[in-house]
């Protein structure tokens, strides 16, 4: 079973390699063995042949000798029958009978001798079948006197063997005759006593002693005539040189020559494509040579058989090896397929797959253990992830729901809200309101609200510090507080004071919240407002230039539970515009960390002051978005634009129920009478008791409008500056960064050196940190300003830092003794020293309840 489609099994591959290797080794061994055994076999065959040859030669010699002996031993019988020649048959009979090898015998009388009495007389006995037949060879047909066997004996006078011949007169077989001349007392040969041996029979005898099955023997005489030959028809007739298969065979001719030369040796001959091994030797004391011819087939038959067996055996072994290999390897690696299947299942998310047990602690076992461990860890990890992502999902969902809830906390559009009120038409003609709130995360800390209570347009805008869920919680509390308090309390100051009390009680973390509350009397256009640390609104009045409204920033919420807020008043005229926002608008940064800035905001409002509230907000959003470009918003973004179109003089007085409600509420609220007036600002703080009826102008309302910028403290030099700039900072240390950017922009503009820029930064930082740290001991959110003036003629760059904190002259400090060691030197006063060192001029003044610090730097070319 395989998980994916295995093309080549590992077992097969490994087995193939092993088998191939083994096969190669086997082949090498086989070949070597083959060669070796072939040599051995050949050697053995040769030895065997030689042995057979030798044995046969001995046999033949023995036989010949035997025949000779037999003749010689029977000769006396001839002598004893000399006088009765007719009884010579008994002698020849006797010889033949007594010797199985002798197939014929003749006692041929020499005709010239007196024994024969001049007659041809040759009694002859031979074996035909199983009988001995007597014949008489002395006749006209058979002239024995001229036969070789007779003549040779007579001429040589010794016992001799004839050449092989066909005895047609006797036994009709090929024979060889031993002739022994017998002498009489005078020494004359009187008879030739013979014994015949059958060559056919001799062939058979010899053939019994051959080394191999298909071996055969040849005997040739001195001229090459076959004495014995496997083909009987060649005996005595054929000649080795003339034999048809030998005529063109040079090797055979060679060995034949050697044979008849009486040499002994070995050779190989080829006949009809077959190879033969020949060994030959002379039969001593004869003129014959014996050769034993053995076909290679016979010689190597065993060897060949062996080779084939071995070959088959090897192939079988290879097959068995490969079979066993495949089997064993497959068994060992079977778990691998199971592992893959398991791993696949694990990857599909099942973490409880059982893995096969591995008994032997080998690498496969190791893999199994790892897989197991992996499974376990994956399971744990996934569970954890599931938990986390479930939590995240819950958290995301919660935040999503929270954002939906938060949106519902905001008021409907002004048009919608007004639609359900009496006199809605009039209201729409009197006021134009548009608002936008874009939280940075799903929920945020910015808020705004408005509603019409008793023909007063009550509104607020606020900013809880921070973002996300924590800020949103405070935000929702504040919105609710505003909604409910604004129903009861018409005075923004009193409202804030009450709200602040409640907020302080439940804000132990002192999460910093700013808020601006306003109330516009729709019938009269009277605008009362109170600020709790928020950015002052922009105002477009009758002069039609955009200004920042001078507001007393009091204190942010939830810092001082008992703080009494102050409010201010002004008169709104036709088409006056109020624009409120949170610092997410002003501080919106681009990629270079440049804030959008108040001045840009003012510009946009300036350009669109004719438009309706909605258009103005849209243009601001556009401008900020384009400034922000690719940068992500860093803070919540809120805008509230209120355009006072005209007085709504035809509004009906508010219904009775609301009145009584407010009366009741007012009683409780008015218990909180204003405490001391704050004297920190030039504006007048008019605390009004909230009117129970609308549209009454009892109290004189001064237009308390100090919209002009705070006057600069005149510099000693009367030269007017050719360049001015201005920045307002909050009393928080983080504003240092804004200051730095501001200084950098000026430095870039005037191409001031890095060194001098640093020094300017240091001096300003000291001055500013002084203000932040010491100017407002009561704490709270304050602002101070820095004005910049450049006078090219004097090469002077001047910074005028104005704050309304407690009176403090930094230069009244002692200069630090810089000669003291670090251990002895006190820590304070260093900053002042730095200011003194880096500035060209410095001065301090306290004017109009303000600290004015002037620092001038010389710009050198």
């Amino acid at each position: 079973m395989s998980v994916f489609n295995i093309r080549k099994s590992f077992a097969t591959r490994l087995s193939t390699i092993i088998v191939l290797l083994v096969a190669i080794i086997f082949a090498m061994i086989f070949t070597l063995l083959s060669i070796f055994t072939e040599k051995l076999v050949k050697q053995s065959a040769e030895e065997q042949s030689e042995k057979a040859l030798a044995a046969n030669i001995m046999r033949i010699r023995q036989m010949l000798l035997q025949t000779e002996n037999a003749v010689h031993e029977t000769e006396w019988m001839v002598y004893s029958h000399i006088h009765t020649p007719d009884s010579l048959h008994s002698v020849t009979q006797h010889l033949v009978r007594k010797n199985s090898t002798i197939v014929g015998s003749c006692a041929a009388l020499v005709p010239e001798n007196k024994v024969s009495h001049g007659k041809s007389f040759a009694p002859y006995s031979c074996v035909i079948g199983s009988e001995i037949i007597d014949k008489q060879l002395g006749s006209e047909e058979y002239d024995y006197v001229n036969k070789d066997w007779y003549k040779n004996a007579i001429s040589s006078g010794k016992t001799c063997w004839s050449e092989p011949y066909f005895d047609k007169d006797g036994i009709n077989k090929d024979i060889c005759t031993l002739s022994s001349p017998l002498r009489d007392n005078d020494g004359n040969i009187f008879a030739v006593f013979t014994a015949d041996i059958s060559l056919e029979w001799l062939t058979d005898i010899v053939n019994e002693g051959l080394p191999f099955e298909n071996s055969y023997a040849l005997i040739t005489n001195a001229v090459g005539t076959y004495v014995i030959h496997p083909k009987k028809e060649r005996i005595a007739k054929g000649n080795i040189f003339d034999a048809p298969e030998n005529i063109d065979n040079p090797e055979t001719q060679a060995f034949a020559r050697n044979m008849i030369a009486g040499k002994s040796g070995q050779t190989e001959i080829k006949e009809n494509g077959d190879s033969y091994f020949v060994c030959y030797a002379p039969i001593n004391q004869t003129t014959w040579s014996l050769a034993i011819v053995s076909p290679h087939g016979d010689i190597f038959s065993i060897h060949n058989k062996m080779s084939i067996f071995m070959f088959i055996g090897l192939i079988l072994s290879l097959l068995i090896i490969s079979g066993v290999c495949v089997f064993i390897i497959k068994r060992i690696t079977k778990p691998l397929s199971e592992f893959s299947a398991a791993a696949l299942r694990i990857s599909q998310g099942y973490f409880n797959i059982a893995l096969p047990e591995i008994k032997v602690k080998d690498e496969i076992w190791e893999l199994r253990e790892s897989l197991d461990q992996m499974q376990y860890n994956l399971s744990r990890y996934t569970n954890r992830l599931k938990e986390v992502s479930a939590n995240q999902a819950v958290s995301d969902r919660d935040e999503f729901i929270a954002s939906k809830i938060q949106v519902q906390m905001l008021p409907p559009t002004f048009e919608k809200m007004v639609a359900s009120l009496p006199g809605s038409q009039e209201l729409l003609e009197g006021l134009d309101v548009a608002a936008t709130l874009i939280p940075q995360q799903m929920v945020g800390g910015d808020f705004y609200y408005y509603q019409i209570i008793n023909n007063h347009f009550m509104f607020c805008i606020g900013d809880v510090s921070g973002k996300g869920v924590p800020a949103s919680m405070i935000m929702s509390a504040n919105v609710m507080l505003f909604r409910c308090l604004s129903r009861m309390e018409e005075s923004p100051a009193k409202l804030l004071t009450e709200l602040n009390k409640i907020a302080s009680e439940s804000n132990k973390q002192s999460i910093f919240t700013t808020m601006f509350v306003g109330s516009i009397d729709l019938a009269t256009g009277r605008f009362v407002f109170s600020n709790a640390g928020h950015i002052p609104p922009l105002f477009v009045g009758v002069e039609e230039n955009v200004e920042k409204l001078e507001v007393d920033s009091n204190l942010a919420l939830a810092i001082d539970k008992d703080f009494v807020y102050a409010e201010q008043e002004m008169q709104l005229h036709r088409n006056n515009l109020l624009l409120l926002c949170t610092d997410g608008v002003i501080e919106a940064e681009d990629n270079y960390m440049q804030a959008f800035g108040e001045s840009q905001l003012i510009k946009v409002v300036q350009n669109n002051k004719e438009s309706n509230a909605k258009k103005i907000t849209e243009e601001i959003i556009k401008a900020v978005d384009s400034h922000r470009a690719m940068n992500n918003p860093a803070d919540d973004f809120t805008l509230l634009a209120i355009k006072f179109l005209k007085k709504c003089e035809n509004l009906t007085p508010s219904p009775k129920e609301e009145e009584s409600e407010m009366k009741n509420m007012n009683e409780s609220v008015s218990l909180h009478s204003p405490k001391e007036e704050k004297e920190t600002s030039n504006e007048q703080s008019q605390l009004q008791v909230a009117p129970t009826e609308a549209v009454k102008e009892e109290a004189t309302v001064e237009k308390v409008e100090e919209v002009e910028e705070v006057k600069e403290v005149p510099v000693v030099e009367e030269t007017p500056p050719d360049f001015t700039d201005h920045i307002t900072l909050q009393n928080q240390a983080t504003q240092i960064r804004i200051l730095e950017r501001f200084v950098q922009s000026i430095a870039d503009y005037f191409k001031i050196s890095d060194d001098l820029t640093n020094k300017i930064n240091m001096a300003l930082e000291e001055a500013v940190i002084n203000i932040i740290s010491y100017a407002y001991p009561a704490g709270g959110n304050h602002q101070f300003s820095i004005d910049v003036e450049h006078r090219a003629s004097l090469q002077l760059l001047t910074f005028i830092i104005i704050d309304d904190g407690i009176q403090f002259n930094p230069f009244e400090q002692e200069a630090p003794d810089i000669t003291l060691s670090a251990a002895d030197r006190p820590i304070g006063g260093l900053g002042i020293h730095i200011i003194r060192e880096v500035t060209y001029k410095h001065s301090y003044a306290y004017e109009d309840n303000k600290n004015v610090l002037t620092l001038s730097f010389k710009l050198l070319e």
Partner: protein, 100 residues
């Protein structure tokens, strides 16, 4: 502002990168802690990437110097930029710190 601290046994190198203004001084209290706790060792402040230092930053250096003297360690300031060097001269710090 970033502080990169490298410790090799008794030698501690701290590289201060960026602007050392009041805000940075406030925010980097935790970052400087290891130097204060190990003021008995050989401290080296590498200031080649310190672009600006105000009195708040100088105060931190001063405090560190105090701690080092109290604990018997060693403090060396290295590779000051030109601007920072002039600040140190102007404030006389050049005489009380070992500058390399």
């Amino acid at each position: 502002m970033e502080i990169k601290i490298n410790q090799d046994g008794n030698n501690i190198e701290a590289q201060i990168i960026g602007r050392f203004d009041t805000v940075a001084a406030q925010n980097s209290e935790d970052d400087f802690k290891p130097l204060f706790t190990q003021a008995d060792k050989n401290l080296t402040l590498i200031l080649d990437q310190l672009t600006y230092v105000s009195s708040s930053g100088l105060r931190v250096f001063l405090n560190l110097r105090k701690e080092v003297i109290a604990k018997g360690g060693n403090l060396v300031l290295k590779n000051l930029t030109e601007e920072v060097h002039s600040v140190f001269t102007m404030t006389g710090f050049i005489k009380i710190f070992t500058i390399q």
